[in-house]
Amino acid sequence: MNLYDFIFYFFAALTIVSAFFVVTTKNIIYAAFNLLLTFFGVAGIYVLLGADFLAIVQLIIYVGGILILMLFGVMLTNKITNVQIKTEASFVIPASIGVGLFAGVLIAILLKTEWRNSPADIPISTLVPIGKLLMEEWAFVFILLGVLLLIALIGAASIARKE
């Protein structure tokens, strides 16, 4: 096992273990904290795969944006108004059967399929190629994303504003 493998397994373990705690812990703040670790683990794997831009964006968007909003929601409802929010597992048996089946299918596929393996060079930086792709080949999609965000903003404003 070389250093690269070791780092990979470290991040993979971090991701999976913390994801497990996200699901099982009863305290929702702990869940959020573990989710933070999950995001970090995924970002670490991205770096290992040479997707440096994706890793940083993962941190900025998921850690800096999405998770903090979730925490806000929990903190404002949980502590100030004294409502105890607990996560609870319901329908444990059907859910585990369903998830087990799905996992079985995925694992079977993983083992059965002949994946095409080709050694890839780890790019020095993905930043410039991504920028070029977004601005040239996928320019139309990029513009559409702008429209999509506009729609999302209008929708959010529409929901949030007072009658």
Binding site: K112, A139, F140, V147, L148, L150, I151, I154, S158, E163
Partner: protein
Amino acid sequence: MSQPLAYFFDSLYLIKPETSIIGFLVLILLYDLIFKKEKWLPYISLFGLVVTLFLIIEQYGYNKFAFQSSTNFGMMAIDPFGAFFKIIILLSSIIVILFSILSKELDVARDRMGEYYTLIFGMILGMFLMVSASDLILIYIAVELVSLSSFVLAGFLKNDSRSSEASLKYIIFGGVSSGIMLFGISILYGITGTTNLYEMNSLLQNFDSTNILMILTMILIFAGIGYKISAVPFHFWTPDVYEGAPVTITAYLSVASKAAGIVLLIRLIKSTFVSQKDTFGYWEMIPAFDWQGFLIIISILTMTIGNFSALWQSNVKRMLAYSSIAHAGYILAAIAVLSDQGLVGVMVYFIIYLLMNLGAFLIVIVIKNKINSEELEDYDGLGYRMPLVGVAFTIFLISLTGIPPTAGFIGKLYVFIALVDAKMLVLAVIMLLNSVVSLYYYVRILKHLYLNKPKAETTDIELSFSLKLFILVLAVPNIIFGLYFAPILEFVKTSLIILGI
């Protein structure tokens, strides 16, 4: 200029309709921001839709790719088939905006109507892209555009708890299903190494048997599409959302967004999985995934569960929701034929479905405006108090059942012929039996309208002239097209050109 950018600018003339929709979206937004006159917003929207309609008719004959890449395949397929469905979407949008002017339900939110029309335009843009997208990334963005706008629109009446509930349910189901779809898309990309459907077609040719990975992928992707067209295992949101959302939006979701989802499915099958077409128009499929068997199962489930659940509904909107699930089942049956004849069935069905379903919803809006209820019990005796509404509703419901001489019969007939020609008799019989079941609940509405005595003393309800005219405009074609449907067939046959094989 770099090559991809040159392709981009060369393709701009092909996306004039989409550009016009984006332009009017911004215009409505700015107008609402600056002038704050709600009164003119629907008329600006209608004007925008008419302009877009002209742009689509102008490019009706085109049959080429927009936004080509170096492999000569493009991100969007501009073809008559797409134009046909864009016209359907535009027509239903025009009708729905007219509904919105009439609907009293939206009066509580009159000061937010700017957002309403902007979001409708966002939805139209998304549906246009769903109709012509031939690239998985574009497909995903299109689906998200439609979903995001319709989430907010479904919960547009914020103070109505049912509307908020509808929106929340819609968001949760939508989020999960688009996540599943994205998972499928990522595996598909992993198998083929491309996101373009046409490129995928040539790469999939060497799959000579069904492949378990392919089955998983397609089922995952179908989750996203099935959610949009409310096909059966993904239909759970439909009744609640249709019941809770404003009627105008319910009508819109049941026609336009369903049409877009169906086209997406057809394009996915046609451009990715068809290896060639024989002389009778039957598609020869790449055996990587058994679309026919899959679609037959889904279609039988969808129409049966839709119809049987509709039997014991007491809310008319909810009943129409289940009925729209059933209709999605009929359409899926036509797709399952996997031939050009099946497509003719789908297209004829959609023109007629647009007329009859929107008509039925118009009646629901009119009645709701007058008696402020959608419950079946409150419909007692309304047929005598509002004669025109009663007659029109009868026409729409008979048409939805598919009994001659209404247009609904023609729609079902073409699906049926396609099924029989392809020797799929079991499916044809199941469809027939389902129509019989549907007759029961459609006629139950008529019973309440005419046979049940109203609980209290009532007076006649007067309708304005424009409203009467509007009802007639939707009701009369339902009869005319039932007797004389050559023009529809002509239009459908000329539109039956899908880019590719």
